[in-house]
């Protein structure tokens, strides 16, 4: 498949504005400006584009809600806070194709009548911060940004806002609190950001990859775009593969490519000829799949049928040497650390589960600990303020479902048999 999102990234100067323009970049802005804003939203509707941050919400619906609100100014925020463990799919766009994102934001802002934009970038990406700032400066100089974009009397200002190491700020309302200079904790919904977002005004928060798809949709038209990949969840998708594979990396493939093909055909199969044990298909917040369940189409509508979720398309591959109790323990440590503290089930529950997992891994577990883990997980699931708690319980429940025997063995044998083998 011809690549669009990762186009040109082998060119060492791909982040340069001249190179981007030379390869056809920024021309879709002129095309977009010939259309009415509502026509662009219509094209996005036809395209079937769903938000690439993980939830898969139809992009045109978010855009329609925000457009219907008559309050001004409106804000367009790019969520570049990819913090889900295993996720590094937006990094090549941010570091190597920043102008594609900027072009996508300019077109989106025009469609949404938003005059101000921010890129909320995770603090862990200092290199991307420099690249984006340079790219934005160059785009201003060339007249793509500013008070009179391309002389068409269209205003759009853009700035990067650097996060400071809080996973929860990837949740869009926590992101807004963080942007406004507060502790990043999720807000009550409704009101939704499309009506009352940044500084109380209508705000559209879209993921990097979502916005980077917009120039493509305008370029080839919504209908043509909707024919790529699974018609119910179309488009190109960035899958990032890590862990025990021969060729880890970011792969741009049609949405709905099978998980098996991603691992074996694209990422080169399991490292050192070992056997596959399990996969997190979309980051550690998505339910784990055991080795015999990877024949599934990786898109938003198909994955729930296989008992998991697409998430951000962050495939973490684990071979036979990995201890699942240890994985659950490390993953829970993450959720405990990143729980913002706003709601009790998540704040307390993740800590309890981490402590129990720690003692099982050390061989100090009690036989009742395994059902206790399931009990705590079920008391968080659906009862936490935001999706972070649900992510922790999806991880916990899916590992218990498929690898309960490993937990029982740890408790019974009072040790972890993988410990010697692992490193």
């Amino acid at each position: 498949m011809e690549r669009f999102l990762l186009r040109n990234i082998e060119n060492p100067n791909s982040a340069d504005i001249e190179e981007y323009i030379k390869s056809g970049g920024y021309k879709n802005i002129s095309k977009a400006f010939e259309l009415q804003p509502s026509d662009i939203i219509e094209e996005v509707k036809k395209s079937g584009l769903r938000g690439r941050g993980g939830a898969g919400f139809p992009t045109f619906m978010k855009w329609n809600f925000a457009s219907a609100d008559k309050k001004f100014p409106k804000y367009l925020i790019c969520n570049a806070d990819e913090g889900e463990p295993g996720t590094f799919k937006d990094r090549p766009i941010l570091e190597k194709n920043p102008h594609l994102l900027i072009e996508g934001m300019i077109i989106s802002a025009y469609a949404l009548k938003a005059e101000h934009g921010y890129i909320y970038l995770r603090g862990e990406y200092p290199y991307a911060y420099d690249v984006l700032n340079k790219a934005i400066g160059d785009a201003y100089e060339r007249g793509f940004l500013g008070n009179n974009v391309l002389g068409k009397n269209i205003k759009f200002s853009l700035a990067v806002h650097l996060g400071a190491g809080a996973y929860i700020c990837g949740e869009e309302t926590a992101l807004l609190d963080s942007l406004e200079g507060r502790r990043g904790q999720p807000r009550n919904k409704p009101p939704f950001p499309v009506n009352e977002g940044a500084w109380g005004m209508p705000t559209i928060v879209n993921n990097v990859e979502t916005l980077a798809n917009i120039p493509y949709i305008v370029g080839i038209g919504g209908d043509a775009y909707s024919k790529i990949g699974n018609p119910n969840s179309p488009g190109p998708k960035l899958y990032c593969v890590s862990g025990h594979v021969e060729k880890p990396g970011v792969y741009e493939l049609p949405m709905g490519t099978s998980l098996k093909d991603i691992i074996y055909d694209h990422a080169g199969g399991i490292k050192d000829g070992k056997k596959l044990k399990a996969v997190f298909p979309g980051g550690i917040s998505t339910p784990l799949l055991p080795a015999d369940c990877i024949d599934c189409a990786m898109d938003f509508v198909s994955m729930p049928k296989y008992g998991s979720m697409l998430g951000a398309g962050s495939v973490i591959v684990m071979d036979e040497t990995v201890c699942m109790v240890k994985v659950a323990h490390r993953a829970m440590k993450f959720f405990e650390h990143e729980s913002c503290g706003k709601c009790t089930p998540c704040r307390e529950g993740t800590e309890w589960m981490r402590k129990i997992l720690e003692r099982i891994e050390k061989g100090w577990g009690r036989s009742e600990d395994i059902s206790l883990l399931a009990d705590i997980a079920n008391n968080i699931s659906g009862k936490s303020f935001c999706a972070l708690g649900d992510g922790a319980t999806s991880m916990m429940n899916s590992i218990l479902k498929h690898f309960r025997a490993e937990f029982e063995e740890h408790v019974k044998e009072k040790r972890c048999r993988f410990k010697q083998k692992q490193f």
Partner: protein, 149 residues
């Protein structure tokens, strides 16, 4: 520092939004966010000191205690862990006397364990200051750290 904060304010419709950028500026200036540094930020943005301390303590990349000259941010999350990242925690402890959350006695390095730095495809990985080091192996640790004085 104050001039830099003034420039940042212009990017936002509300002064409070400059808080995170201002904390970064203060941290760069002082090395860490002491109570005095946070008071300076509160004054510059005309915010209550409690709001500044509340925000600063929420984010893990703001340092509320003195740090070494170089900051090692080592990821041990799942993708890095299964490729052996925990070994580097041991190496830093054994060879450099550096514990997670701690600083070497000569003030050269501080170590923070990270929750995914988005380098999973080139794991194990760490940031030293703002430099990303990927595909870490036991033998290249001294060479990497040797660059930071």
């Amino acid at each position: 520092m104050l001039e830099e904060i003034e420039d940042i304010k212009a990017k936002y419709p509300d002064t409070r939004a400059a808080l995170l950028p201002a904390l970064y500026i203060a941290q760069k200036e002082f090395g860490w966010l002491s109570l005095d540094a946070m008071k300076a930020v509160a004054d510059a943005l005309n915010l209550p000191e409690s709001d500044v301390r509340g925000a600063a303590s929420f984010y893990s990349m703001f340092r509320l205690k003195p740090a070494g000259r170089n900051l090692i941010q080592l990821c041990t999350n799942v993708s890095c862990m299964i490729l052996g990242a925990e070994r580097f925690v041991d190496i830093l402890k054994e060879r450099y006397g550096l514990l997670p959350g701690g600083t070497t006695s000569d003030g050269r390095f501080s170590l923070v364990i990270m929750e995914c730095i988005g380098a999973c495809g080139t794991a194990p990985a760490m940031l030293v200051n703002t430099d990303l080091h990927e595909n870490l192996a036991e033998h290249n640790i001294p060479e990497i750290l040797g660059k930071y004085k």
